[in-house]
């Protein structure tokens, strides 16, 4: 078995407004002149270490855990899972 670093990113769905991202864009980034930044969305990142046989297996364990434990609210959030190189 190997250890894989796995990142789970929980974001608001595109149709759900993200007031935190809007505030950071309006009152900080655009206010200070970084107009090339056209949009900001915040999300939550969970950095996991997962013991698994391979990358696909590690990804599946993370996805199952997120769904079974309702780590995100599927009504408002979407998740993405990124598996890094095994340690």
């Amino acid at each position: 078995m190997n250890l894989f670093p796995v990142e789970v990113i929980i974001s608001n769905k595109p149709q759900a407004r993200d007031p935190e991202g809007e505030t950071i864009a309006r009152d900080l980034i655009h206010k200070e002149g970084f107009h090339a930044i056209r949009n900001v969305r915040t999300s939550k990142l969970l950095a996991l270490i997962i013991e698994a046989e391979n990358e696909e297996n590690a990804s599946n364990i993370a996805l199952k855990m997120c769904n079974d434990l309702r780590l995100y609210n599927p009504v408002a959030h979407s998740i993405s899972v990124r598996v890094g190189q095994r340690n």
């Binding site: 505030t23 950071i24 009152d27």
Partner: protein, 221 residues
């Protein structure tokens, strides 16, 4: 003595501070909306507690970029007294006027209680009326008050006597080295998590905080 009390969207201790300065300390404070604060002729400024801009990204991080902070920076450069209380402390740190970071409490809880403190440094604009090592009581009410700096910076803060208040009885937030308040190297900018404006009248449980404002008056003389 003309004192500016800034108001950010979310400030909620602004009027308590106004009351103490006006009715108890007998000063001439003025509440000023952050966007309208462009007059650096005030003798001192206070950034009150509460919240600011939803405290998105980090507590105080958005307010640190408000127009008012340019005026605060000018006043700080003129070595005028600047006090940040609670969210005001967080704003001063995010603006780089004070060193370090204020992280979420170790308990992951909002902590609201009276605390026992010791005045560590009396050579500052807001503690010069205290005697060194005096024990005082003031309440705290915050979620992000766990002061943090790396070891070499902590060493420098100690060497320069920039630690202003420490918790004594217990460490309510897991803050580094029991730190509750610090000052800049010129000792005119002070940030504190405890609320002196809530401890300025015996009717409200204690008056130790009043000396914070009396110190400001003496420092300016």
């Amino acid at each position: 003595m003309k004192i500016a009390i800034l108001q950010f969207p979310g400030s909620n201790c602004d009027k308590d501070t106004l009351h103490v300065l006006l009715n108890i300390a007998g000063l001439r404070p003025k509440l000023i909306w952050h966007n309208e604060f462009d007059d650096d002729s005030f003798d001192a400024a206070i950034l009150p507690g509460g919240f600011s801009f939803g405290d998105h990204l980090r507590a105080g991080a958005i307010a640190a970029h408000s127009n008012a902070m340019q005026t605060i920076r000018k006043m700080a450069d003129q070595e005028k007294p600047i006090l940040g209380i609670c969210n005001g402390f967080q704003i001063l740190i995010e603006a780089g006027l004070l060193p370090g970071a204020l992280l979420r409490n170790a308990s992951l809880r909002f902590v609201c209680k009276w605390t026992d403190l010791q005045v560590e440094s009396t050579d500052t604009a807001f503690t010069c009326r205290f005697s060194k090592n005096t024990k005082v009581r003031m309440p705290i009410a915050h979620n992000e008050g766990r002061f943090f700096v790396e070891n070499n910076s902590l060493h420098a803060l100690k060497e320069n006597e920039q630690i202003v208040l420490r918790y004594t009885d217990e460490n309510p937030t897991g803050t580094l080295d029991n730190i509750a308040a610090i000052t800049n190297s010129e000792a005119n900018v002070v940030g504190m998590m405890p609320h002196p404006e809530r401890a300025s009248s015996t009717l409200l449980g204690g008056s130790d905080g009043l000396k914070v404002f009396e110190s400001m008056m003496e420092w300016t003389r």
